[in-house]
Symmetry: C2
């Protein structure tokens, strides 16, 4: 096993949680009490992490929210803070490029930011994510079937061999692409039937499942469909913005607790 999966599995087992909190801090949605602080994004994340770190199997910062406002330093601080607490960090960056460029992205995500796992787009093929897989202690979650309506545009195209494109990606990811055993898949919560199909193809592979919470994915249906392998159920806005007032961290904890309970009722 690799370091990410070891740490993640221990965290998931010890705390009995499949919840991942997505750290997508939109500066315009931060509580007024924090918006004018010196490092508002880091302060917000720190408060959320302090309030929820015993309820999550990992955190998932989405890099776009930091890049849009030049908050690279606050992302670095956030990840260091989470790692100090012993919680694994899955950095959602969905990079995808080739050769030396992919090596530079790998350095960005693993060396500069210190992510334990990342998300990657598979459209450019195996050699485009090989540089990430070479970090054998890290995990690489390939996009397979995403939760957005447009996800079907390409991913559900039917191939000549009768499979949908997303099924082909799942098969490659569980088979010849997974040479170092450190691939996981991103499978949206909004299509439980397809999630079940991907579980069937991939055995006990770990799935990152965004789309519960604000995006409306059905937790019971997702948990039923995903049985047989580890699941990381990610919620961002529903937790982060549970309250816009000074009680935002406590409110986030309340929502996180309720979500964990709802997930665990399905096991």
């Amino acid at each position: 096993m690799n370091a990410f999966f070891d740490q993640f599995n221990a965290q998931q087992h010890n705390l009995d949680t499949a919840l991942c909190v997505g750290l997508d801090p939109d500066i315009n949605r931060l509580p007024a009490c924090i918006r004018n602080s010196d490092k508002p994004i880091f302060e917000f994340n720190k408060a959320i992490v302090d309030a929820t770190s015993d309820l999550v199997c990992c955190y998932k910062p989405q890099i776009a929210y930091y890049a849009s406002c030049g908050a690279e330093a606050e992302l670095e601080m956030t990840i260091a803070y989470i790692k100090d607490k012993g919680v694994p960090v899955l950095l959602d960056a969905k990079r995808g490029d080739i050769g030396s460029t992919a090596e530079h992205y790998a350095r960005e995500l693993f060396d500069r930011y210190g992510a334990d796992a990342i998300t990657v787009n598979p459209y450019m093929g195996f050699d485009s994510f090989e540089p990430y897989l070479a970090y054998e202690d890290k995990a690489v979650f390939l996009l397979c079937r995403t939760s957005n309506p447009g996800g079907a545009d390409l991913q559900n195209l039917r191939l000549e061999n009768g499979k949908a494109l997303y099924e082909q990606v799942a098969e490659l990811a569980a088979g010849e692409w997974n040479r170092n055993g450190n691939i996981g898949l991103v499978v949206g919560a909004t299509n439980p039937d397809e999630l079940a199909r991907i579980r069937e193809i991939t055995g006990d592979m770990t799935f990152l499942v965004p789309g519960i919470g604000a995006q409306g994915g059905d937790i019971a249906a997702v948990m039923a469909a995903g049985q047989g392998g580890h699941m990381i159920l990610s919620s961002s806005r529903a937790v982060l913005y549970a309250s816009a007032d000074t009680d935002f961290a406590a409110a986030a904890r309340t929502v996180a607790e309720a979500t964990v309970r709802e997930i665990n009722e399905q096991k």
Copy 2:
């Protein structure tokens, strides 16, 4: 027409060049004379731009090379410097994500960095790049058929309707996806037959063609295959690292001039 295509077409016409220089500054490959300066990446780019700006139709910084070493400020400075010279900037970022996340990436690329055009990964479908297309004066180059060996893994899969996946992407990009008329395509130089097929499907759409220079794409074959629409032929390492000595900028100009000549002989 939109502002990027207007400016790019004028630049291409006035200077008679289809060459795009990719600004992929690897700190370990910069000439020793510049490596220890205060802002080595910006100084390097500035020298390359000063030496080549009358030979290019646009510049294409690859964001990974800046992100890997925390050089966001130098990327901002580089882009501002190029724009001051009146040359359009195509920022190669290959982002791909949904809804509010895509909006944050759009802010990163267009508002923060001031890019005139970007590259985007289409795997997540139309709604994942709609936020970029909404910037009607910017251009969005979707990955279609990429120049790396693994590009074939998914892009060449044959669909049930008889088309390859990359052909389907080309058809959607030239048709229902191109509501604002600001889509271009990324088509690698290493497969001229497929480039010709994509030209056939898309009419006069503008193609960004990486893979000449260090990647070995054949300029004559590419120019023949791409006839009928604007072409942006991108070369990075062959120009940037033409010399590792103090004459690096003059050497870059010599390679750029020779490349423009080779391209123009094919017209």
